[in-house]
């Protein structure tokens, strides 16, 4: 196990220690166990708070999107495990500026059950909450069961747009609507080339033979829709972008933003090879790329692979996407 760690059971806590030491100007702890963090200036009086959360092992997801123009707070679980409702409640309390709190996170059973419980507890304390689930992974369910899809890297666009809406003073319904619009217009598909090893388990979460790829893989190594011999970067990009443009029903004249995301071990260089092809494919069908993002936005520890996300933009989403934002991990 090629990992730079100490006690696997202390892994997440040590990560958070390091993070708070490094970024105390921008982030502060909102729970004695540090499993709830908020931006240093939270709560923002009179503004809607946005709380996200999920398992660890996906940096910069989730806590990397806590900052100005982004989320207000985050609850942090163990590697690939949901945070507890209690931790979510702590993040909620510290993020509440009196205008309610949006729960914006990925569609995973454990997270949903715990956030629902946290919402009940917040309600009892007089903090109104709404929930919007990111469910952008095209590979995880067919269009007629789109609500069952997993949330993966495309949640970045929802953070960016909803965060900008909250920052400019939209109310809870308004922020939730923006988040829902971003989610509804976002699709992602990934490819995995190697498995992930959980620090605590010490074994790969799945097997992938040398020279094999899994198209549609999830960010915990969930199986996708096709496993076969590794293809060229162009052929892989064709598969990913093809599935996305079909599902989004993109047509000539549409305006989009594109995110090419590395899953962990794949070099940044390779992500640009993918971007090159994605750009050409969208260009070919007359789709305008308003903004490209290339880098690691949602990882799966040391998994090799990548994903492509596309969001279709109307004028409002475009403005919100263009707004400034700043966290220790993302700046625009």
């Amino acid at each position: 196990m090629k990992k730079l760690i100490n006690d696997p059971d202390a892994f997440v806590d040590e990560v958070l220690d390091g993070l708070l030491l490094a970024h105390h100007h921008l982030l502060r702890s909102a729970a004695p166990d540090n499993r709830a963090l908020v931006r240093a200036d939270a709560p923002l009086d009179g503004k809607v708070g946005i709380v996200t959360g999920g398992g660890s092992g996906h940096l910069p997801l989730f806590l990397g999107y806590v900052g100005s123009g982004l989320c207000t707070g985050v609850a942090i679980g163990n590697v690939f495990s949901s945070p507890s409702a209690e931790q979510m409640l702590s993040a909620t309390q510290a993020s509440s500026g009196g205008a309610g709190v949006l729960y914006l996170y990925g569609n995973y059973g454990g997270d949903v059950l715990n956030f629902d419980l946290a919402g009940d507890l917040a309600d009892a304390e007089g903090i109104p909450t709404r929930t919007v689930l990111a469910a952008d992974d095209v590979a995880s369910a067919p269009p007629d069961r789109a609500a069952e899809r997993r949330g993966i890297a495309g949640i970045f666009f929802a953070y960016k747009c909803a965060g900008a809406a909250a920052e400019r003073g939209a109310d809870l319904e308004g922020v939730a609507e923006i988040a829902a619009a971003a989610v509804a217009n976002t699709r992602t598909m990934g490819v995995g080339l190697s498995p992930t090893i959980l620090p605590a388990a010490g074994k790969p979460t799945f097997e992938l033979a040398a020279g094999e790829m899994e198209i549609g893989i999830g960010i915990h190594g969930e199986p996708g829709i096709h496993r076969g011999a590794l293809e060229t970067a162009d052929a892989v990009t064709d598969r990913l972008v093809g599935a996305i443009t079909d599902d989004l029903e993109l047509v000539s004249g549409d305006r989009v933003a594109v995110l090419v995301n590395g899953l962990g071990a794949t070099p940044l260089e390779e992500l640009y090879v993918l971007y090159r092809r994605a750009h050409a494919l969208l260009d070919d069908i007359g789709v305008e790329i308003h903004r490209p993002y290339v880098g690691e936005f949602a990882t799966s520890l040391e998994m090799a692979g990548a994903s492509v996300s596309v969001i279709r933009l109307d004028n409002e989403l475009t403005q919100l996407l263009d707004a400034p934002a700043r966290s220790p991990f993302f700046q625009q």
Binding site: F80, S81, S82, A85, G109, L113, T205, E222
Partner: protein, 209 residues
């Protein structure tokens, strides 16, 4: 059974259950993310720690409430939230009474089952823990079955039910994403429930002899 007896039984059984960690991890890794082993081992450890810290002479309701709250937080996950919530719902039916009898146990189990069904939005046959629980709730509620046979019958029927989940396709949780590839593997959550019953059975027998 009073609260002290229940605490001792739960403590012993969870000690036994912890040994299923690797099996549950592997089962969950086959169709999900492999964290069920950790959920069960951390959850058991959290429950045992909190139970030990309870005052002397707890009520059965306190034991169940404490178990639910600490299992939910041990290693939060689908299973942790569902089982934790189920124990809290069960504790409610028991209330403040000082004794847990057969009828109380049956009502508690029914409430736990309903809680998981409601919160997880699952149906029987969706290949979840519910498929293993359903026959055991019936056994607990059946006045035909004597108290002393109850746990043994529950174990037997749960075992059959778990075996039958192999043929099903997962329709809930992470395993649903695997689609048809989930067929052929028993449901990890259902298996965890079976292992819990086996542990309770072994502990109860040990305690009673």
């Amino acid at each position: 059974m009073n609260g002290t007896e229940l605490r001792q039984l739960v403590d012993q059984a969870l000690g036994v259950l912890e040994a299923s960690r690797d099996e549950l991890r592997d089962l969950d890794a086959a169709v999900g993310d492999g964290d069920l082993g950790i959920t069960v081992s951390k959850g058991c450890a959290a429950v045992r720690t909190k139970l030990a810290a309870l005052d002397a002479d707890p009520t059965p309701g306190q034991v169940l409430r404490t178990s639910g709250a600490s299992f939910a937080g041990g290693n939060p996950s689908t299973m942790a939230a569902l089982v934790g919530g189920a124990l809290l719902a069960g504790a409610k039916t028991v209330g403040d009474s000082g004794e847990l009898d057969r009828q109380g146990a049956a009502a508690m189990l029914r409430a736990a089952f309903d809680s998981i069904m409601t919160r997880g939005k699952a149906q029987l046959g969706d290949k979840t823990i519910l498929d293993a629980m359903a026959p055991t709730v019936d056994i607990a509620e059946s006045s035909d079955i004597p108290d002393e046979d109850m746990l043994a019958r529950m174990v037997a029927d749960a075992r059959t039910a778990v075996e039958e989940t192999s043929a099903l396709q997962s329709r809930r949780g992470r395993a649903a994403w695997v689609g048809e590839r989930s067929i052929g593997h028993p449901d990890p959550g259902a298996t965890a429930y079976l292992r819990l019953l086996e542990a309770l059975f072994a502990s109860a027998r040990g305690t009673n002899t």
